[in-house]
Symmetry: C2
Subunit: 154 residues, 2 copies
């Protein structure tokens, strides 16, 4: 069974063979940053998924619901209530697409733009704080490695 690390960084117990697995470390690090994100956006009512949707729509005005879902890895069926939530809160404008009457064309409502800006700056501030002991090169390198992993999606 190869090498079984005894403790690594753990303070209380050994994590055993998990230590060599990228998946384990990704899961834990993602949770830490995700929780920090939640604290950053506390009080806004915006969750990580919703923020991601706002960002995609912001960068692609007029995009339709399905395309947003594909960009974020969210299934069609699960997009419905998320978009409803943002439309109901007047953060997103939804209208039937001119070119394809099956689809909806999404744009940020004025309130959505303000909300997105606010959430973005909160998020950046929190990430800068949380990741302050990573050098700028390390941070870039990390994002680059994560992008390459993401590209392996199937």
């Amino acid at each position: 069974m190869a090498s079984v690390p005894t403790a690594s960084t753990s303070d209380e117990v050994a994590i055993g063979n998990l230590d060599g697995l990228v998946g384990y470390h990704l899961r834990r690090a993602s949770a830490v940053v995700g929780n920090d994100f939640s604290r950053a956006l506390d009080g806004t009512g915006i969750r990580q998924v919703l923020f991601n949707i706002l960002s995609i729509v912001n960068a692609n005005p007029g995009i339709n619901q399905g395309a947003v879902g594909r960009a974020l890895g969210i299934q069609r069926a699960n997009m419905v209530s998320l978009i409803n939530e943002l439309v109901d809160r007047d953060l997103l404008d939804r209208k039937t697409a001119a070119e394809d009457r099956r689809a909806f064309s999404l744009t940020l409502a004025p309130g959505g733009e303000a909300m997105f800006k606010d959430c973005l700056s909160r998020t950046r501030a929190h990430e800068d704080q949380l990741l302050s002991d990573l050098g700028p090169g390390e941070r870039t390198a990390l994002i680059e490695l994560l992008s390459r992993i993401k590209a392996k999606e199937r």
Copy 2:
């Protein structure tokens, strides 16, 4: 609002400001590796959490339930059904701890050891495949960076 990247690696739509956020990339990469993990363990009935629990118990025979949860960031209340599941499937032995009769002492049952070994080699094979275009140095560097982020947990 600083720089708004237009496309980065995206093929269909721009991800906008998400591109500069570590949290976004962590979330997506973690999902990719997690899905790959699920495929690797398809048919075993073992999910990522359960595998993590088996690994902790394997590395710390006799450990109690709460300590496993703390090591993995799982709340006490949520440990109960997970441990029940593993005990019911004869993968884990659970007995009242000698030193503290409130606690349970957990060890891998023979079937649990076999299952863990099997899952571990499947997982390693899948990770090696999925991450084959990361050099060994990059993989180590990635794990090191993720560990440092995890250490910021609060």
